[in-house]
Symmetry: C2
Subunit: 224 residues, 2 copies
């Protein structure tokens, strides 16, 4: 420790990111809280005060993402379709803003079962936020289970997309995610807006001499 800390030339790295990196390199279970605190330049006491626990330091990003999402859904006046898509993509963006850090964290999760379990708990908060939003904005007559089911499905698809992105760093993954979400929500139309082509109506007129076969063929052609 230098006296009076003259000036850090290197910008102090976010201690959270440094912690994740250290854990990924040395192994989560193998690293004691003291060692981790030392590694990122603070005392054990301060570490727990700041991050709460060894697990939480890995997921502190989600706090921000979640509150952004919550705020965005509370104040938007767009359709449920757009709000969900935009909110989801913004969260994804935030979590992959630094691709390098995202990859390190993913590696850490991959090698640590207990952290993957913790991740489930975290992502479930998103599920609740979505379910609340969907319940609020659902059409009258929407059954009680629909927002719950759709919210769970949205989060699951989102997670699958994130994992896909981590496997193959393909920026098209986000466009794909958006299409998947739209198609998913379409399955639950018309409860949350969106047109569901539940009943297509074909009105065909034939003269009275048309044979049943002719009618059938004409209708079949329309159905593709």
């Amino acid at each position: 420790m230098s006296i009076s800390t003259p000036r850090d030339d290197s910008v102090a790295p976010a201690p959270q990111a440094a912690a994740v990196r250290y854990l990924a390199e040395h192994g989560y279970e193998q690293t004691t809280a003291s060692a981790l605190a030392d590694a990122i330049g603070m005392s054990r006491s301060t570490f727990f005060r700041r991050f709460g626990s060894k697990e939480d330091v890995v997921f502190s990003d989600h706090d921000l993402a979640l509150s952004r999402l919550q705020h965005q859904l509370a104040t938007t006046d767009r359709s449920a379709y757009d709000s969900i898509a935009i909110g989801t993509l913004e969260v994804t963006h935030l979590l992959t803003r630094d691709p390098d850090a995202a990859r390190v964290r993913s590696e850490l999760l991959r090698s640590t079962p207990s952290l993957r379990e913790r991740e489930l708990v975290i992502t479930h908060r998103y599920e609740r936020v979505f379910a609340d939003y969907l319940r609020r904005t659902a059409e009258p007559g929407t059954p009680e289970w629909a927002p719950i089911a759709l919210a769970a499905a949205i989060v699951a698809v989102h997670n699958a997309s994130l994992r896909r992105w981590l496997r193959q760093n393909d920026s098209r993954a986000f466009g794909l995610l958006e299409r998947e979400l739209v198609e998913l929500m379409g399955r639950f139309a018309p409860w949350f807006g969106g047109e569901r082509s539940e009943s297509r109506v074909i009105v065909a007129s034939f003269d009275a001499t048309a044979s049943p076969d002719e009618v059938l063929r004409a209708v079949a052609a329309h159905l593709g």
Copy 2:
């Protein structure tokens, strides 16, 4: 301790159930592992050997339910609709076999946030089992995200149903659950079997003098 344990007149209660009961009465956080082990008549060492942890003792039922479900889905030759419905209902049945115990455990969960978080982890195993099954049995051409989304939705609906049953001990809840599941899966038809009435076809024949209004009314009547 009596010498040579002459004979238990009362059938020894399942230590797991006794543990849950004790925890519910005395508070989860307030109960140390030693006290709990004492309460159910074993040493601290044996307690950890048998149950693994204080948390797991609460959820040990799920191990059985999960393996039953897995086996059932692996060997069934029914439609996905029926298999999912039957499997889900069997799990529900197993978990509510002893309504009294189910209620005690629910009360324990209600008053213990950390256990609710643990529950999320447990139920996620069901999600994986369902997703695997759905992926295996999906029609060719089903998008990758569909089994994931549907599995998440199924588990979410199932959980909501279980909570509903706990709130108001209404045995009709199970019939309701079954209808909800069928309707949910119908939303994902035709990927996992089941007919989706995506296009209803109405063929109406009118004589050539019919006015457009007459045609419209007749068709509208059919659409209800």
